[in-house]
Amino acid sequence: MLQAREPAIAATPARRQVAIVGGGLAGFVAYLTLLHGKVVPGDITIFATEPDPAGAWRRRANAIRQREMRSESDGHCLPRSFPGLAVRAAKQQGLVPLALSICNRYHPTIEEFLAHVDELREHSGWDTRLLLRRVARARPVDGGFALDGHGVFQHVLLATGHPGLAVPAELAGDSRVVHAYDPHEYADTVAIVGAGMAAATEWLNALAAGARVTSVRRHEPDRRPLNVPRDLFSRRGLARYHATDWRERAELLERLLGPSYPPGRMWDEPLEKAAHAGRFRIAGSVDGEEQVICATGFLDAVGHDPLLTALVRDHGLETCRRRLVLDDDSTVPGLTSAERTLAVAGKPAQWAYPAADTLVGMKYAARGFLRRVIACPTR
């Protein structure tokens, strides 16, 4: 087992180059991207609360018994999109994963993805750059940002992850309630609140466990392969997205980030069979079910993440409908300048990139951050 060590940070100069606040997948992807961009590992410090970059993600995937990634071959942590996980799988399984990938039918298993993360973690020196500390404040100072008492960093990427699990207010305190991402088994009658990917996975899990399932939803889910329409992963869709004004963009995000799960028989057939047998129904509210599973995602960063909330409060950062307003490259306007960078990765960066909480979205933020680090005049 790898042990995180204190990075060998020199006492001088007092101002260090790059800090990544957050040791989850977004931070991990950013670290690998910086290494790819020839940033010296010694110039990078990662602040994390646990050494395993996939730790939180692994626990959630286990909780909902997820077996396959929703993402396709591109859903990996390497800086380049090629070779992806389909190529990795092809080394053992032959050409089938590559053929499936060309048809957008390749979805790596959770085991494959986690093994890939473990390999990268071991080979990248991730653990040697980790500082197991929680950062609660990022204070802009001359030429950088002071991170609590840990020093001043010229370029800082905030990849703080999800601040907590969201449970609808009307269900708070209900003893029957468990969040989908908390470990749980299934009662005989289960209400599953939500209609996204986690909810869809839980419908099938509960049915497989023999439960009668009520899907509680306010909106009908979209059926699409990925979190957002595919063109929004590239400049083709992003150019239009970035051209929207605030109001339009906020409305667009509400629509885009509503519940969705992929189309396909693997989802539809079990639900149709169960509905036919009277074991699956759709309702507008929870009734008398023994267990209520909330597949309702995560709390918003603004208002719940201490670091981001303090930044917004202390520096008057713009927000729109609880979303942090960012520049198109995921940097924080007002606090980023030619000499220093404050950027955001993960879900709080959805203003810049709607699919920011996907691996491809994490790379988008990481590449933008790398460009700024490379372009820094002091390097």
């Binding site: 961009g37 999109s81 070779p83 990938s101 060309i102 595919r230 590239s234 400049r235 590449r367």
Partner: protein, 396 residues
């Protein structure tokens, strides 16, 4: 992949880098211009489709490359035919397929490996893309300029009678305007010559292609008409030639319509779509390789089509009617594929006393092999004859 229009164009042109280099290398090695013309057309068709059609696709799954590639190939081949680019189907498809594979490998692996944000940038390659565009434009522009500079001059023959023999010793295109007639024949002693829309009257031979031992190649006789030549209407020696849509009318006597001889080492000649009338023999191929197709031969006095003396080739889709002696003859250790011809009304030449001239529709003579398939033999004195160790095989 969700391409931007710029990304599509940059990816396409950068992927064309290797095919352009390859085409230039082949063009120099052969030497021939078709590889460069073909690659330029491929790029042109692709860019046209990118701009006009493909850009409506918000997202293009990887497998789309197959049907879209087939569409591009179809349009490319239509252009090749329309522009009369002389390239074999296999070579054209081979070059296209090679370029397609290169582009797919680059799009799926090469570009994403080389460019950190290739997919995210919608296929745009930044400065590399602009450089590739520059290279492709400069390379094709330079090739085009060289091609233009080397294109043989076109000589227009005015209407009216020109006294021959007209002797061509340099590469050129000789085009006759309506009513242009050469009296006394044309002699071609150079490669890369096209003679088009010219009528020839009289002369010992109507049109002679003969450059001595060094031979000639890349010759096209297109829509020529030869009347009244004393020996051969078209007389070809040691050359590879394409004769297309010609008319040859030979007087009675020891005359031949078209004679291609002693060219077995020069490659395959083509006689296609000609109308040959009269003479002792209509089309003669002697010690040569030839494709004889879609011709109409009538009123010959000995053999209508004669593939002789260790020749090899295809005789197909010809119409032979009302001839004396033999319709289609395969002789003297030749190998002839004779398919889908229509031979009718071949009469026996009794006065000759030659048993091999007794009105055979098809005849195989002296150790020759005639492979027959789908021929229609109607009203001939005798349908098929085999003499002196000749052989006839009926293909299934």
């Amino acid at each position: 992949m969700s391409y931007t229009l710029r990304g599509r164009l940059e990816s396409r042109l950068t992927a064309a880098f290797l095919p352009v280099l390859f085409a230039c290398a082949i063009a120099i090695a052969l030497p021939a211009w078709w590889p460069i013309l073909l690659v330029a057309l491929m790029i042109g068709v692709g860019v046209l489709l990118d701009v006009s059609l493909y850009d409506v696709l918000d997202y293009q799954p990887g497998w789309y490359a197959v049907p879209l590639g087939l569409i591009e190939l179809g349009i490319l081949m239509a252009f090749v035919r329309a522009l009369e680019i002389h390239v074999s189907l296999a070579a054209a498809i081979g070059l296209f397929a090679g370029a397609w594979v290169v582009s797919q490998v680059l799009a799926h692996a090469g570009f994403p490996w080389l460019s950190l944000s290739y997919a995210e940038d919608g296929g745009e390659l930044g400065r590399a893309g602009v450089a590739a565009l520059g290279f492709v434009v400069v390379a094709l522009g330079a090739c085009g300029a060289i091609y233009w500079a080397k294109v043989p001059p076109t000589v227009r023959l005015a209407a009216g009678v020109h006294q021959g023999p007209l002797v061509i010793t340099h590469s050129q295109t000789l085009v006759g305007t309506r009513g242009a007639v050469v009296r006394g024949g044309i002699v071609i002693r150079a490669s890369h010559v096209i003679v088009r829309n010219v009528s020839v009257v009289g002369g010992e031979n109507g049109i002679v292609v003969d450059c001595g031992d060094r031979g000639t190649h890349h010759l096209l006789l297109d829509r020529v008409k030869v009347v009244g030549a004393q020996i051969d209407g078209i007389h070809v020696r040691r050359s590879r030639v394409t004769i297309r849509d010609c008319v040859v009318d030979s007087p009675t006597g020891f005359t031949q319509g078209i004679d291609i001889s002693f060219s077995a080492d020069m490659g395959m000649s083509v006689i296609d779509g000609c109308t040959v009338t009269g003479g002792r023999e209509g089309i003669v191929v002697d010690s040569a390789l030839a494709m004889i197709s879609h011709n109409q031969v009538t009123a010959t006095q000995m053999r209508a089509i004669n593939m002789n003396e260790m020749s090899m080739g295809m005789i197909e889709h010809n119409k032979v009617a009302g001839v004396l002696g033999v319709g289609i003859f395969c002789g003297d250790q030749s190998e002839c594929m004779i398919e889908r011809n229509h031979v009718s009304g071949t009469r026996a030449d009794h006065p000759s006393g030659d048993l091999a001239q007794m009105g055979y529709g098809i005849e195989s003579h002296y150790k020759s092999l005639a492979e027959l398939s789908g021929n229609e033999l109607v009203g001939n004195a005798r349908p098929i004859g085999v003499f002196a160790g000749g052989e006839v095989r009926h293909a299934r």
